[in-house]
């Protein structure tokens, strides 16, 4: 790839007093991408965004926009704009003047301002409301104004700091799709910070999962979901089952509880000692014990400990020798639920759906 990234972070560290918020972070964000930084609160995602925007200065490292080093430059000298979590609309200005603010600061005049602002209000589906004051708008409308205001200067990168956090669920879903459409329309790089994994997966083409001021894993939503590389990522994106074991050296992992699990080629790369094998609950077939499962699948026997019907699927907790395993079985066929509490069942899943992560040490302590 010889394209110059829109944003480059080189070994960026941010310390507040003696707290390390961002820890030696390096990152490149390609032009035109919808990039999400995902993680729990305190993982450093917002601080990273604020450093790109110029609201915090990094303690160490460099930040580049395109080829230009912007370290130490104030926000008004950086070609990025921000949609703030609280919207931060100017309460004393009309909706029109809120959106026009950036244009006026760059010396755009008269008819050009009008044309550009109206274009933006059109883009966010708020035409004709220019005279209103922010306090006369609903939360969803304020959010759209904030978006129009940040996009009006056609920045190189748009930063979004938990932009949907204050909206109710239905509006949030609607805005997710709309944000994606707008990003498509304007073609600007979006960097989006959120703690909501579903939001990140719906919108972003690349996700950086952050934890403790570092990036745990970076990739497309499908990569992160299908092949998580750490237990944290496996647990943060969706649900997963983790079974502890030790590599056998022949492409299988011997479970502590007995038996072996086949894993994809290469997924054990360089690993020795204790590992965990993981698989997603919806990748598992559940059958009556004694049924002959197709060859080549990993198997595990157990007893149904809990069963709940949730419409699209039935969710089981199956007690096995290796611990409880969650199974989501899609209710594709009409008729009875196949397995009740106390039934002996056989679980089977493909080695391709299996991933390997380091055994979380914390997890071990919790169990003991």
């Amino acid at each position: 790839m010889n394209q110059i990234p829109d944003i480059t972070l080189e070994r960026v560290t941010k310390r507040f007093e003696d707290v390390v918020a961002v820890d030696d972070l390096s990152l490149e964000i390609a032009p035109g991408s919808f990039f999400a930084m995902l993680g729990p609160s305190g993982c450093g995602k917002t601080t990273t965004l604020r450093m790109i925007g110029g609201f915090e200065e990094q303690t160490e490292g460099r930040i580049l926009l395109g080829e230009r080093d912007v370290s130490g430059l104030p926000p008004y000298r950086r070609d990025v704009n921000t949609v703030f979590q609280s919207y931060a609309l100017f309460p004393h200005l009309s909706l029109f003047e809120n959106v026009a603010f950036g244009l006026r600061r760059r010396g755009v005049k008269g008819g050009d301002v009008r044309r550009r602002v109206e274009e933006m209000l059109e883009l966010v589906a708020l035409p004709g409301l220019g005279k209103r004051k922010p306090r006369q708008l609903s939360g969803g409308q304020q959010q759209r104004v904030a978006l129009a205001r940040a996009l009006v200067n056609s920045p190189r990168v748009l930063l979004l700091d938990e932009p949907l956090g204050a909206l109710d669920l239905k509006l949030r879903k609607q805005m997710q799709l709309e944000l994606k459409r707008i990003q498509n329309d304007v073609g600007i790089t979006f960097v989006h910070v959120t703690h909501d994994q579903e939001e990140a997966m719906t919108m972003a083409d690349t996700i950086a999962v952050m934890n403790g001021g570092k990036i745990e894993q970076l990739g497309s939503p499908a990569e992160l979901y299908e092949h998580p590389q750490t237990a944290f990522v496996a647990g943060f994106l969706g649900a997963s089952n983790l079974l502890r074991g030790r590599p056998n050296g022949d492409g299988t992992v011997a479970l502590d509880a007995g038996g072996a699990v086949h894993v994809p080629d290469g997924s054990l790369n360089g690993r020795s000692g204790r590992v965990s094998v993981g698989f997603r609950p919806e990748k598992v077939r559940i059958d009556r014990a004694g049924t002959a499962a197709p060859d080549g699948l990993n198997r595990l026997e157990g007893t149904v400990a809990d069963e709940s019907y949730v419409g699209v699927s039935t969710q089981y907790i199956v007690e096995t020798a290796a611990g409880p395993v969650a199974v989501y079985s899609q209710n594709a066929d009409p008729g009875a639920r196949a397995h009740g509490r106390g039934d002996r069942v056989l679980l089977a899943w493909s080695p391709e759906s299996t991933f390997v992560v380091d055994t979380p040490s914390q997890d071990e302590e919790e169990i003991e």
């Binding site: 925007g53 110029g54 609201f55 104030p74 926000p75 008004y76 990025v80 704009n81 921000t82 703030f84 609280s86 919207y87 931060a88 609309l89 100017f90 309460p91 004393h92 200005l93 603010f101 950036g102 600061r105 760059r106 922010p134 306090r135 708008l137 609903s138 939360g139 969803g140 304020q142 959010q143 205001r149 940040a150 200067n153 204050a166 909206l167």
Partner: protein, 272 residues
């Protein structure tokens, strides 16, 4: 909550009594301003508007009124600049002794006027060698006017301004433009409310003024010196009414402004 009828009437009565306690004497003065006779006797026998004309023609009253207006305007202007700057510094920066600065700015409001007056008198007269006059009155009044501006502006800054200042800088406004187009307009009503209160405080101040005015007479001082002259009493009453009005108006508008912005400006959380 359902109150008993007795409690409800009791509270109404108490409110009425409180208001009567505060305002009855003022009403008495206001009525005497329309008294036909030169001597004050109750009940008033006849009514006239003559004293208003005479009071406004009185050169001593005119000069005192002018001095009072100048002093109040000067003190308000000084308080606006210094109070605003102090509140910006305290709100925006964390520095060593910040809490102490905040405390020291507020203290003069509680300090007895007579102590402030003495202290200023000695400082101007003996240490700085400045002749007492309008300038020293303005500085003297500013010491306590700063507080009301500072408090009003600081409250507003704390509530809304930080996030919209960031938004402004983000959209390309430098520090000065951000102040000019965002900070100042967003705090405008707080500034105005502070200024009106400061004006009212300065306009009717007596104690600090007596120590700092020198030969100058403000309206309250004029009243004080003429109170003992029976001849002047009807005019004094009129001037008192004038002072009451000129204090009421700013306080009324200041309160209205504070209420408006309290309901109007959305908090930083926006739509929640």
């Amino acid at each position: 909550m359902v109150e008993s009828r007795l409690a409800r009437y009791g509270l109404r009565l108490a409110t009425g009594a409180t208001l009567a306690f505060i305002y009855a004497p003022l009403i008495v003065i206001a009525l005497y301003a329309f008294n036909e006779r030169r001597t004050q006797t109750w009940p008033i026998k006849g009514w006239t508007l003559d004293w208003f004309g005479k009071a406004l023609d009185n050169p001593g009253v005119r000069e005192a009124l002018l001095t009072s207006l100048k002093a109040a305007a000067g003190a308000t202007a000084l308080a606006l600049v210094l109070g605003t700057l102090a509140s910006l510094a305290v709100q925006r920066y964390r520095f060593f002794g910040r809490e102490t600065v905040s405390f020291l700015v507020i203290l003069p409001l509680a300090l007895p006027g007579i102590v402030t007056g003495m202290a200023l008198n000695s400082t101007f007269g003996e240490v700085l060698g400045i002749q007492l006059g309008l300038f020293t009155v303005i500085v003297g009044h500013a010491t306590f006017c700063i507080v009301v501006v500072y408090n009003n502006v600081l409250a507003r800054l704390r509530r809304v301004v930080r996030s919209i200042e960031e938004a402004s800088m983000d959209l390309g406004a430098d520090t000065w433009q951000t102040f000019r187009y965002v900070t100042l307009p967003a705090t405008r009503t707080a500034l105005l409310a502070g200024a009106l209160l400061a004006f009212a405080l300065s306009f009717d101040e007596v104690i600090v003024t007596t120590f700092t005015a020198g030969a100058q007479q403000t309206l309250p001082i004029w009243i004080f010196t003429n109170l003992s002259r029976p001849n002047q009493l009807p005019i004094v009453n009129v001037v008192a009414v004038l002072v009451i009005l000129l204090s009421f108006i700013p306080v009324y508008f200041a309160q209205k402004l504070s209420q408006e912005s309290a309901g109007g400006v959305p908090a930083a959380g926006g739509a929640r």
